[in-house]
């Protein structure tokens, strides 16, 4: 605060408080509705005094949508995407920054382009690839005539088939396949002084040694930030898990929300729906609250 501006300060407090209501209000309403019973939740207007049925509703929602295994799936999925991004991005950035090889510029460009096009716009063919992840390689063998050659020589018909639908790799890998993170690491590696690399080389460290013993420990903060953001991002994915997991045993918690939309006819069971929504909301919200610093760092670093 630089000067005395009592009127402006008053309005600042009022507007920020309104912003607080708008930001947190919907969360509070979900929590309160989750504590009502069927008739209370359908009262007009709904009472903002919490009811007494909170744990009953949570239990009902939990069993109706079978949320236990779904939350575990979400955890594996989001954890897998976060770990995949952190590892793959670090490796690629290391390769791009610390080596000079022919085609490096081209590889850089190939990776950069993946930032432009989200999964959603190539969703149908990506699904086809997930149904048989070896189909691109089969097609290459077919087109180049290698399939024909092998069949001629050995009599074996090559048909590569590896389906990833309803599997964790099928959920995880397509989301790891963009370059968010690679550029975060690249920027960071570029700020590491050359003297450090020289010293390591003089001490006889090879590239792998340097990467594991020096570079990775230095990038711990980047990893925490990137991992947190990617965990949140993956946890909150909807369309891809919905398509890839046709079998409910692999479904994630967020895609299960749809099962909780109340049926038309009779009093809608909003209290159960909101209890389920609350369960799905809590884990990412807890990550945001506990990892506030890394979330802010990560959001700003991965997108810019």
């Amino acid at each position: 605060m630089v000067e005395r501006t009592p009127i402006l300060n008053f309005f600042t407090h009022v507007i920020l408080f309104l912003g607080f209501i708008v930001a947190v209000g919907p969360l509070a309403i979900v929590a309160i509705a989750a504590s009502h019973n069927l008739s209370e939740v359908n009262q007009v207007p709904m009472s903002l005094v919490p009811g007494t049925d909170f744990w009953i509703n949570i239990k009902t929602a939990w069993t109706t949508a079978n949320l236990g295994p779904k939350l575990l799936n979400s955890l594996i999925f989001a954890g897998g995407v976060a770990a995949g991004k952190v590892i793959v991005s670090a490796l690629t950035a290391f390769s791009l920054v610390y080596f000079r090889y022919p085609g490096r510029g081209f590889i850089f460009w190939l990776i950069f382009v993946t930032l432009m096009l989200p999964l959603e716009v190539r969703i149908v063919p990506t699904y086809a690839v997930a149904a048989n992840v070896l189909s691109p390689y089969q097609a290459i063998l077919d087109v180049t005539g290698i399939t024909w050659l092998i069949e001629r020589i050995s009599g074996i018909q090559v048909s590569l088939d590896l389906g990833l639908l309803n599997s964790y790799p099928g959920l995880i890998l397509p989301l790891v396949a963009t370059a968010t993170g690679t550029f975060l690491y690249r920027q960071f590696f570029l700020t590491i002084p050359d003297e450090l690399t020289e010293a390591a080389r003089m001490d006889g460290a090879g590239s792998l040694r340097f990467f594991i013993d020096i570079l990775l420990p230095l990038s711990r903060t980047n990893m925490a930030a990137l991992g947190t953001i990617m965990f949140l991002w993956a946890w909150n994915q909807y369309l891809w898990p919905l398509l890839v997991t046709t079998d409910p045993s692999h479904a994630t918690a967020v895609t299960e929300l749809k099962q909780l939309i109340p049926n038309v006819g009779g009093l809608p069971e909003w209290h159960i729906a909101m209890a389920g929504t609350l369960i799905v909301m809590v884990p990412p919200l807890a990550v945001v609250v506990l990892m506030q610093r890394w979330v802010v760092r990560g959001v700003i670093a991965t997108e810019k």
Binding site: Y98, R122, V124, V129, D194, S207, L232, V288
Partner: protein, 294 residues
């Protein structure tokens, strides 16, 4: 910036890039190429070869009124929800940056919606805005039939905009606050000593300095409104009533997986890809010129 000291065995270096290259080839470049190929052929849903049709798929899409409806409402959705989320976030971040008492609290809490999945936000707003329960039901109590997103297209659109803007206000807030806090306090203090007021300082100093962030968020918010809207539409309206919320991504997935029209879905994907690329380039070319970089 280039590094002077590098490792000499470049064959090892390439190996480090192989995992990413394999992944993006399999799950990015191949499907993207496939989308282009499918859009130019007539794809049989149950296998059985494909026929080259050139641009016919595009012609039939562009002649389809449903498709143009989808484009129009996607643009309306993007424009309104981006203005709301960025506008609200800008005001809240500017005020939080004044660092009055309690600003630390707001800095933490206003980020929360960012962590909520878009479909979960949609579910919450579906209840809050339901015509028969929740909070908009009060309006219907006094003016029966005034609010019904299940029947009224405008109300349905307003609902999905509310759910989307809510989540992305939290997101934009993070960037705006970071941008404001990057401005040196001494600059503000110097201006204050020269006698300029809070509002004057905002327009003459802070606003020009955060224009790169505004520009960046504009690109991100618009592209996200094309992508992340799927879950919101699916949970809140399923594209209805009467296609009034059948946004572009929703229509692509519906036509591709329910209608089994792979060629049509692929052609729509290509148009959406081009739209996103053009938007990005357009914004870089035309908005960036007015942006003051430090």
């Amino acid at each position: 910036m280039e590094k002077r000291t590098t490792f000499s065995k470049w064959s090892v270096g390439i190996l480090f890039a192989v995992p990413q290259l394999l992944l993006i080839f399999t799950f990015f470049y191949w499907p993207a190429g496939q989308a282009i190929f499918w859009s130019l052929t007539l794809q049989q849903p149950w296998g059985g070869g494909n026929i080259w049709v050139g641009l016919d798929n595009f012609k039939s899409i562009l002649a389809n009124a449903d498709y143009w409806n989808s484009v129009t409402i996607s643009i309306i959705f993007a424009a309104i929800s981006t203005s709301i989320s960025m506008g609200v976030a800008l005001i809240l971040a500017a005020l939080t940056d004044r660092q009055l008492k309690g600003s630390k609290f707001y800095r933490v809490v206003l980020i929360w919606p960012y962590g909520i999945a878009a479909p979960a936000s949609a579910m919450a707003f579906r209840f809050i805005l339901a015509p028969e329960a929740g909070f908009m039901s009060v309006v219907n109590h006094y003016w029966p039939g005034f609010w019904d997103p299940g029947l009224d297209g405008t109300a349905a659109m307003a609902s999905i905009i509310a759910a989307f803007s809510w989540k992305y206000t939290g997101y934009s807030f993070i960037f705006f606050l970071a941008a404001f806090q990057a401005i040196p306090r001494s600059l503000i203090e110097a201006a204050a000593m020269d006698g300029s007021g809070v509002i004057r300082r905002f327009w003459d100093i802070q606003f020009p300095m955060i224009t790169p962030t505004i520009f960046f968020l504009l690109v991100i918010n618009i592209t996200e409104s094309f992508q992340d809207s799927y879950g919101i539409v699916d949970i809140m309206t399923s594209g209805g009533p009467h296609n009034s919320t059948n946004l572009m991504v929703y229509k692509i997935v519906f036509d591709g997986f329910r209608g089994l029209d792979y060629s049509g879905a692929a052609a729509q994907s290509i148009i959406l890809m081009l739209l996103i690329i053009v938007l990005t380039i357009f914004q870089f070319r035309f908005i960036e010129r007015r942006v003051h970089y430090r």
